[in-house]
Symmetry: D2
Subunit: 403 residues, 4 copies
């Protein structure tokens, strides 16, 4: 393993003098996580086990087919609000999510995150901003992964409005994800914000505009795992056969924090609205749907249960029916995608592509931003992703095609 | 409705003088069916109901998006072996498969088909050939749809060998489908053979060579309906996420003739072998599978039950599981596809494309011929089909894009 | 068919002089329905078709095994609130629920029901009571079937309290079902109240006490149809094998009025609480459960979709899993039970058994009253029912054992 | 723990002088297993872990509710044909079936079993008999558990015929299970033969007669695990609602030896025939069924997949449908039942009840012997079992009712 330099140094080098690459300069993808919960911990564990040669690349869509390797991903820090985690080592915290013995190459200490003060309390946004960005700098971070628990939020649409509220210290109007995003916008280097939860970031024009102006990449919103991506492909399949879908019912139940929080009515409503739009985008017509996180059942843990019913009309008015039942481990599904998103973020930085990157979001996200873009079936989105990867030049992109 | 001319006349006209089209010359797609069973009868019924404005285009993949319309499809005849059908009118025969009242525009009489004499009996192939082709001529047919019950067979590979056996009147070596195919090859005009059952025609190089030489089109083999096409798309979905499939189990049970016949061991074996290949083609690795028509249960009738289990490894060795249960009306699913295949056959004739047309077979067939081509996921195959359609010139192809 | 007399006359005769029975005196079971919706209409249709010899006894648990016959059930009237139904003939109203042609022997006119004035409005309870009981008398009714849409309610527990509120005309405290029940209590002849919805009647000690004092029979609460009865038997099955159930998840979704109304949060809560109790009653230990009507999806209509997951621990800590998916026509399932309950009500009247009859409720109801009695598995409850039937004397009970 | 005596001694003591029991004399249930495969190994492991206090009594139907305890079960030996097992210690052999570390109290050595010589080969039955019974004596065994892989067989019906064939050394007519059974019959002390596989023993009148004459107990045939017992209860459930079942389809697929062997056609046929009879016994009418072990899929291992479809007619001709999917660990399900059967065998010996004990077989077996007895739903059978248990006197039976 060759000597490492700071990312900023190395990118400067890279952009000016490409040959350095061939001399073996390693650019680590230094990543910081918001929310050291199940997803983040499985991400840490899985990455370490891959580096240790213990497991394969299952669940990482792009695997070894692109130039960026798992070995060069470095998770360098995380923020959380749980008193039992703050100040603890990663190794200690992951014990709650993973039974095996594991030693982390980068055993960071969990930092205190930005606390939601919208209901009650008080906070100085300016001070918080400084606190956070100081940590980013200290960690030499450039990639930020948001995996905090689903929150309520109100999009801004207008950049001006967002900045005004920040300036006025109007913390009652700003959700934690919006503030984390803002802190990354204020961080003075090109960087990547990966939003894995339903808060609209890649779908909020205010945020996308800001990112474009400030050389930031947005991947979002809401990591596409579980039943929804599969549903899009089943819908595409039925549509291509011109089968008329009569209704779609999709139940989801699990025992992790996300399901616990989603049972709060106001969070759920936003989620339901979004999914119905995806169906229309793909099929081209409206279908009555019931698609939403349905309930919380603690013993299921992270291994959620999904049940889906799709009745449709076939030729000569025959009525068919598809029922799908799934048991899906939620956090590994998302963590595997994040391994790609970190690497794709790095490629965007190298290419100098900023804003909400639709060809990536379309595949990895439930609500692919920017908002003006439609949702498409995931098999279609994967083709977009492949095109995007190979249209890049040879330094940055997908030159290493798996054999 | 304008005056009709014989197909042969009109094609001659068409190939020489395209302007005639714009004057409203209608070319009917005169089609003949081998096996007037469930599929054929539902095809007849559904087409008539569409013409009568009674039902929509559900279950017909290309719907109104291509230039050939349902109105111009004419089913002009059918062959069957059932004494209770031969000599009867179509209207009478379809009563066994469809409850509603229906009056057919073309109420043909069922002809006696080619009888399988391999086990015992005797037949003069030369005489049969003449008998069949005479009927084809009389009916002015150009499109031939094979929907007979699944049969045992042995492919030929070598055209010479096939022709030699025919010449020697070796009816013990030749399956009914192979003979029907031969009769179409000997029929002295460009025509289309659509093979909806597992007998290898598009996958037998002997047959494909003959078709190319004799200006014939082959669509085949084994119409892709039911669970198999959906499975290909689910596999593609999982593969794109690099989830490692541990095994695939797919049960099929129904109460129609096809299930009854498939319970005969030697027919089943050929089917199982084929499907395992499809899995490997799509995933790129071998997976233990159990995929086959499993049993016969009379009360299920044409509405088969499918049950499928797909366990797979996700990120960090998490094990997920997808279970799919389907109730699918088998015959309408195939009949809807045949509506497209007849029209696509006509387009091939107009374009002068002969042999096994892979971009069409890949979507509509379980074992898309020619044999050297791999099976691909159906969503991928649909893209091939769309490309093929729109690469044609404006007379023949898919110029009418649905809005 | 022999001459009919009024029920009151005939019962008087019966109780004094049993021999009359043997001379062929027919006692009709004159029944009145609250809520002429899906269930009531299917009940009317199904009963008529049985009388017409058109269909069999499928879905009627006791079939012909007891002395009371379907032929002697007479539905003589119904109350509803829908302006489009009031004043209309039964034949007209059932057209919305059943496509076939049908002529009713008793084609009554729908009466206006008791209107819920709890939210706003005003009503004179005394006047309503008189209005309702006058109709009961006119119809010579003795059996009352409550099938109105699920409502919110508060049980009373104390008879005194209930009567006080009635006296004070406190219509804001009294739910429609409670008032219907009260009207039957005030009706001056022995009669039967069959409560097919979740409002606590058989489970409200106030109501049970009143019924016992006034020679009334209560069957309730909440007709056991759909997945819940099956679940009780599956739980009993697992318990007898000492398999430790880890959690139970049961989704229900449908498109009828009941699902529409159950999506209102406060109605749902009461339902969820009850079901968890049933699980504990049967298993003997607490299990985390999610069992409730989950959503409304209009195109499903009356044919609801149920999905259930039951993971459990087997010998040597092996973990097994049962998934059940059901498509159940809700209203026929309940209507078939009501055919029994009307006849069992008549038997109670003949036997002079009043109050909440547990051996009947245990089988037919989700929350079998009285409240102090536990829920038991349905196969167990059926045995109770059989014992109860055959312990009666020969006039009233189950003397006709099916052969 | 008090001093142990030989079983023969202690039973003599017991039968004559009951008070000894109260002084703490322990009678061990010395058991021998035919077939040290998955079931036997999980039985060994689970029992040891219970004794070690490591796991609970999940999956053992009677748990602690009867007087015989798990602690007093001693597995003292096993026979197998696998060269890799014969002569090895139990601890070594179970490593193939169980990952954990375990130390057996009774770490016996696997003996060579009776080898099937029906296809080819030669064997001296007399010599084999002596060899086996010598081992039984040496082990002081009294309970024999048959868990060998499913075999083909022909029942005898006549005891005389069976004994004649043995005498004539006609090993081509005698299946291994029949010979093992014979060896137990010739063993000169009261003992128990528990037949967990489909070979007809409890259902062969020849065998039952012999057992009665020779003071032997038979439990059989074919241990009721997996989907079949659940199906019986679901059928009973539907029957009690008079729902008319249209057909039953039940697929089973697994990756253990039993599934491997059942794919051999002639074994499968016998199994299918039997199950259809069970359906008729319970429902009282014939239903078209497809119920059988369907296939072998190695990666599923012992965790089989079951898929079941039951469509039925409800009231007013409504058609409902139940689909059940199960993942069941086959061997633990059977092993848990064997823990009961060993203890129930001991109770039979104490009570002096010999032959095929129907109240026990009805619950634990798929084909409960004797043959003249019908199959009944399992919830019904459990009641029979409970009655049988508590009709016994206080020494032998179920006096310890769990609280």
């Amino acid at each position: 393993m060759i000597e490492s330099v700071s990312i900023e140094q190395s990118r400067a080098v890279l952009l000016v003098r490409k040959p350095y690459i061939s001399k073996g300069l390693v650019i680590y993808m230094n990543s910081v996580i918001f929310g050291q919960g199940y997803v983040a911990s499985i991400l840490n564990v899985g990455l370490q086990r891959i580096k240790d040669g213990e497991i394969g690349l299952e669940g990482i869509p792009l695997g070894n087919s692109i130039s960026k390797t798992m070995e060069d991903i470095k998770i360098v820090g995380a923020f959380d609000l749980d008193k039992k985690k703050i100040g603890k080592n990663l190794g200690e915290v992951t014990k709650d999510y993973w039974d095996g013995n594991i030693k982390f190459d980068d055993d960071y200490i969990i930092e205190e995150g930005y606390r939601d003060n919208r209901e009650r309390g008080n906070i100085d946004l300016e001070g918080e901003l400084e606190r956070l960005t100081d940590i980013y700098k200290r960690k030499d971070a450039e990639i930020f992964v948001n995996t905090i628990t689903t929150e309520s939020f109100e999009p801004f649409a207008e950049e001006k409005e967002f900045l005004r509220r920040i300036k006025e210290n109007d913390f009652k109007r700003i959700s934690p994800v919006q503030f984390y995003f803002y802190s990354v916008m204020e961080y003075d280097r090109p960087s990547v914000f990966i939003n894995c939860i339903p808060t609209m970031i890649a779908n909020d024009p205010a945020m996308v505009k800001m990112a474009e102006e400030r050389e930031k990449v947005i991947f979002g919103d809401d990591g596409a795992t579980g039943a929804t991506p599969l549903t899009t492909d089943i819908l595409e399949h039925l549509k291509e056969r011109r089968r008329k879908i009569m209704s779609i019912c999709q139940f989801n139940i699990g025992g992790n924090n996300d399901f616990l929080s989603l049972t709060e009515p106001e969070r759920n409503i936003s989620k339901e609205r979004t999914k119905a739009g995806v169906v229309k985008d793909i099929l081209g017509y409206e279908v009555p749907t019931y698609i939403k996180p349905t309930g919380y059942l603690e013993p299921l843990g992270d291994n959620k249960f999904v049940s889906m019913l799709i009745p449709y009309v076939s030729f000569n008015e025959a009525i068919d029916e598809i029922t799908v039942n799934m048991r899906v481990n939620d956090s590994p599904a998302l963590a595997g995608n994040i391994v790609d998103l970190i690497r794709l973020g790095e490629i965007c930085l190298e290419r100098g592509e900023y804003g909400a990157i639709y060809p990536i979001n379309a595949f990895y996200m439930k609500m692919p931003g920017p908002i003006e873009k439609a949702a498409i079936a995931k098999i279609k989105a994967f083709e977009l992703l492949e095109e995007w990867l190979f249209e890049g030049d040879n330094i940055s992109g997908g030159e290493r095609k798996e054999t």
